[in-house]
């Protein structure tokens, strides 16, 4: 049955959690390779007609990469296979897969007919000698083949871990070239794994911190197009953009959507003072939520839309606070040594990811919503700007290297602190924002 794989994986996750707990809340725990990933095999998907063979191989490669890159799975190379899968419908030789220690087997079939693509897959628990869940079929266009592979991966991941997947998702980010004092920035969007990069703006104006809408169809960002920072909303499909008006003589930045996509929460500076506001996108009506003379910025909604986490230096240094989505009294949640910024509420609602500065180093970390169980996941000269995977299990952020040749790169890391890895982009990357799972 599925129990064996599931138990094995749960045991891995438990180990990860326990080992972190033993280190105490402020220890950085990046001990890659300590846990043993679950071995799996993904033979090339079976071609159902002559024109499908290449596609069958490509699909299997993307599925394998998705699973392997989680750090929870390890692919067994095809060179180790004893038997192969040449017919999607015929029985699996469990003993052959058991002999090479594959615990999971993903098989697929592909049919390319003109523009149209059909993908089927099955997942087997080798040691139990049974299929795990039912076979699934996806229909689409050949152009969208990578998404179909990601959907297969999401189903496999989800069945084995009991968690939602995150592979069929996109990331909007700032693509960067040039040295620090002549840096060119433009908005780009790509698949979560760095494939299919498309540019959404040119680099004539400085652009910062794009944020996906809850349905992934729009992006909020800050641009210096007018010479002053202003918030824009951009339609990802048409690349049409419009400025969201804010008060005369003020600058606006740090926007994020509300969970229903109708409101934007952002920072506006008037005079010397930066506060948090919301704006109804349709009407343009804005509401001021904070009024302290300190800096209040980087707001992020809770998934239920009832609360906002933000950073403020009202205590003398940057710390994290939570207030009602209507403003009012705020409760401080960060109390460790150092400065805390860029809080982002997890899609599960349980954690807040943040950037921490302490003793000249930057960290990406997570804490519970009440501020307890702070855990630092990374450490470097400059790590910044976390964003959550759709299932709340992985965080993407950017890392800038030190010195005159400093360059910014996107990274991802598990919330356990494991599996830190760069996300490949054609140019430098910063300010990632992860979309929800695509429909």
């Amino acid at each position: 049955m599925m129990v064996r794989i599931f138990t094995a994986l749960m045991a891995l996750m438990m180990t990860a959690t326990l080992s972190l707990a033993q280190q105490g809340p402020l220890r950085i725990e990046i001990t890659e390779g300590v846990i043993e990933p679950l071995p799996f095999a993904t033979p090339n998907f079976v071609a159902e007609n002559g024109s499908s063979a290449e596609m069958g191989a490509q699909l299997a490669r993307v599925v394998a990469a998705d699973l392997q890159n989680t750090g929870l799975f390890r692919e067994i190379p095809a060179s180790a296979y004893i038997s192969n899968v040449t017919d999607f419908g015929s029985a699996i030789q469990y003993s052959d897969w058991k002999a090479i220690n594959a615990q999971a087997l993903v098989t697929g079939a592909v049919n390319v007919s003109g523009n149209s693509l059909t993908v089927k897959f099955r997942l087997y628990d080798i040691f139990s000698g049974a299929e795990l869940g039912n076979g699934l079929q996806f229909q689409g266009t050949t152009e969208g083949w990578r998404r179909m592979a990601h959907k297969v991966s999401d189903a496999v991941y989800s069945r084995i871990t009991g968690e939602g997947g995150y592979f069929d998702s996109r990331v909007v980010f700032v693509s960067e070239t040039g040295p620090k004092n002549k840096r060119q920035k433009r908005l780009a969007v790509m698949d979560y794994d760095g494939a299919g990069v498309k540019y959404l703006t040119d680099s004539r104006s400085l652009v910062l911190a794009p944020r996906f809408s809850p349905t992934g169809d729009r992006v909020l960002y800050t641009s210096y197009e007018t010479g002053f920072p202003r918030i824009y909303v951009l339609d990802v499909g048409s690349v049409q953009r419009r400025v969201l008006e804010s008060g005369e003589g003020s600058i606006s930045f740090a926007p994020r959507f509300s969970p229903n996509g109708q409101t934007v929460v952002y920072s506006q500076a008037t005079g010397s003072n930066t506060d948090i506001y919301t704006m109804d996108i349709a009407s343009g009506r804005s509401t001021r939520l904070t009024s302290a003379p300190s800096i209040e910025t980087a707001p992020s909604y809770s998934p239920d839309g009832n609360s906002i986490v933000f950073e403020s230096d009202r205590s003398g240094a940057q710390q994290l606070y939570i207030m009602s989505a209507n403003g009012g009294e705020a409760k401080r949640i960060s109390f460790g040594q150092g400065r805390y910024g860029t809080p982002v509420w997890s899609p599960r609602g349980d954690l807040v990811a943040f950037t921490k500065q302490s003793k000249g180093r930057f960290h990406i970390g997570v804490m519970r919503v009440d501020g307890s169980e702070e855990r630092l996941l990374t450490a470097s000269f400059l790590d910044e700007g976390p964003t959550w995977s759709p299932n709340g299990r992985v965080i993407m952020f950017h890392r800038e290297t030190q010195g005159a040749g400093g360059r910014s790169t996107l990274y991802s890391v598990d919330i356990t602190g494991r599996n830190l890895r760069p996300v490949r982009t054609p140019e430098g990357g910063s300010d990632p924002s992860w979309s929800p799972l695509q429909k």
Partner: protein, 174 residues
């Protein structure tokens, strides 16, 4: 400012008016000229530094920028002295408007540094207003840590990046 000084400055402005104008309109000698995305540090360098009404004079002789301590937006004594000079110059050269750009070093998160740069720009503006420069002639903007002029990751560079720069615009039109 003493009346005599003012008169001398005015005469200087008049005698050099033609070349000053040409320089201003030509523009484009700043950092941003070859790199539009990186615009915003030096503005237009116009005229000769020996022309007291020129932006070059303002930048070099008066001093177009004030520096800040780490994570601070309060003006230093040196900064206030520079701004005294800027105020006097702006009152003399009443046709100029200015955008005051606030900047931060890279030791901070992006949003916070924009807010911090804004505080710095506003500190400079408020001081100039207190010295009689009409607030209607000044705007502020913050670039946060986006536009460093020095790129090493050491305090020597950071100190130069924590700044508020008064960038002149407009000027004589006739």
């Amino acid at each position: 400012m003493k009346l005599t000084t003012k008169v001398i400055l005015m005469m200087g402005a008049l005698s050099m008016a033609a070349c000053t104008n040409a320089g201003k309109l030509g523009g484009g000698a700043g950092d941003g000229a070859f790199d539009p995305n990186a615009a915003g540090n030096s503005g237009v360098i116009a005229g000769s530094a020996s022309d007291p009404a020129s932006t070059a004079y303002f930048q070099q002789a008066v001093g177009d920028r004030v520096m800040f301590e780490v994570d601070q937006s309060s003006l230093t004594a040196v900064g206030r002295a520079t701004l005294d000079g800027q105020a006097a110059w702006l009152l003399t050269n009443a046709d100029y408007t200015a955008i005051i750009e606030g900047h931060a070093d890279e030791q901070g998160t992006r949003e916070y540094n924009i807010a911090l740069g804004n505080r710095r720009a506003d500190a400079a503006r408020s001081y100039l207003v207190s010295k009689g420069v009409p607030s209607s002639r000044m705007q502020i903007v913050s670039y946060g840590k986006e536009r460093p002029i020095e790129i090493c990751s050491e305090e020597a560079c950071y100190a130069k990046n924590r700044r508020a720069v008064t960038v002149l615009a407009g000027g004589l039109t006739g």
